[in-house]
Symmetry: C2
Subunit: 215 residues, 2 copies
Amino acid sequence: VLTVHHLGASQSERIVWLCEELGIPYELKLHARDPVGQHSPPEYKALHWVGSAPIITDGDLALGESGAVVDYIIGKHGGGRMSVTADKPNFADYLFWFHYANGTLMPSLLIELGFAAAPEEVRKASTMAARMRERTDAAYAAIERRLGEADYFAGDELTGADIMMLFPLSHMRRFLPRDLAALPNLRAYLQRVGARPAFQRARRKADPTVPANLS
Amino acid sequence: VLTVHHLGASQSERIVWLCEELGIPYELKLHARDPVGQHSPPEYKALHWVGSAPIITDGDLALGESGAVVDYIIGKHGGGRMSVTADKPNFADYLFWFHYANGTLMPSLLIELGFAAAPEEVRKASTMAARMRERTDAAYAAIERRLGEADYFAGDELTGADIMMLFPLSHMRRFLPRDLAALPNLRAYLQRVGARPAFQRARRKADPTVPANLS
């Protein structure tokens, strides 16, 4: 049976949400972070050598890495639903936002976060934090433009691209606050997603203490 | 016509290689890095708001982000060749290495590189560089194990997973040297890839001053 190993408040929240949107059977195993340092606990690390969330198991298979897990579940258990095929006009939009989420946006935010937590002399002496902030500013501007063209990242329908993009736009803002006042399209998007029954079910099951209201 | 905009010594070398392996028609436009700072030049940034390599154009479409561009070309111009479908036993292997390359490995290496270039007090005061080194050590160990099981990352055949994985294993080592003496499977893999006619054609066309010998 497909088992989603969810580490509290981590990228595996995407996978619970995906399974709820697809309406497929899955088992949810909740894992708590190590109280010291908030890392993955040893039993989570033992599931797959990557050691970080998300990790799923499916029979003999253990699989990590968000993009791989989303593609695997859509392809293997979702009959291709929530993806966009090469014959559709929005194929490239789907692919861009799907891959951009963890290929560029998440790394930029994690580096920004790493510097936010670093001693002041580190922040002052390095130009990396400022460069990442410029990059994420450009990202938010592009996201706002995109969500003015379409209700969801790939077009009219919620897809795997939204499953990938929501985490940097919701979870990460709890640690790197960002003023959304000038981004009405993004605010409307967050309300639209937060109102989805499958999203609310995922929150209740995976992270009941985190509000489903995303704005 | 499909146009690959290649920025010298950058992730767009993947896209040239992919087109050569698929044997599809494409136009190659070479762009030189800004002499100051070695960033993308203004005309490259004007192609797509992400501003960094790779970027392709195809009719009215401009597309960035390595994973998206590889999936797009395979799906739209390659008839699905060099990918692995959900009905195959190595579907998960394909997806894992494809997404791991830019979702985790490249960010870890780029952070390591950022710290290597930072003032000494930054390196000393931060734990991020050391954590990234631990992560990439684990990555190299897993890569060595994987390449002991199969000739290519997804199995017997070269696929998009290799197109994604080679860059961190070749290009990035020029800036973050790593001793491969204890990694015979990886060394054999690099020889295998470097000997491919399509890889050699891509090198000659895209980066003729960079040796095709990868070891």
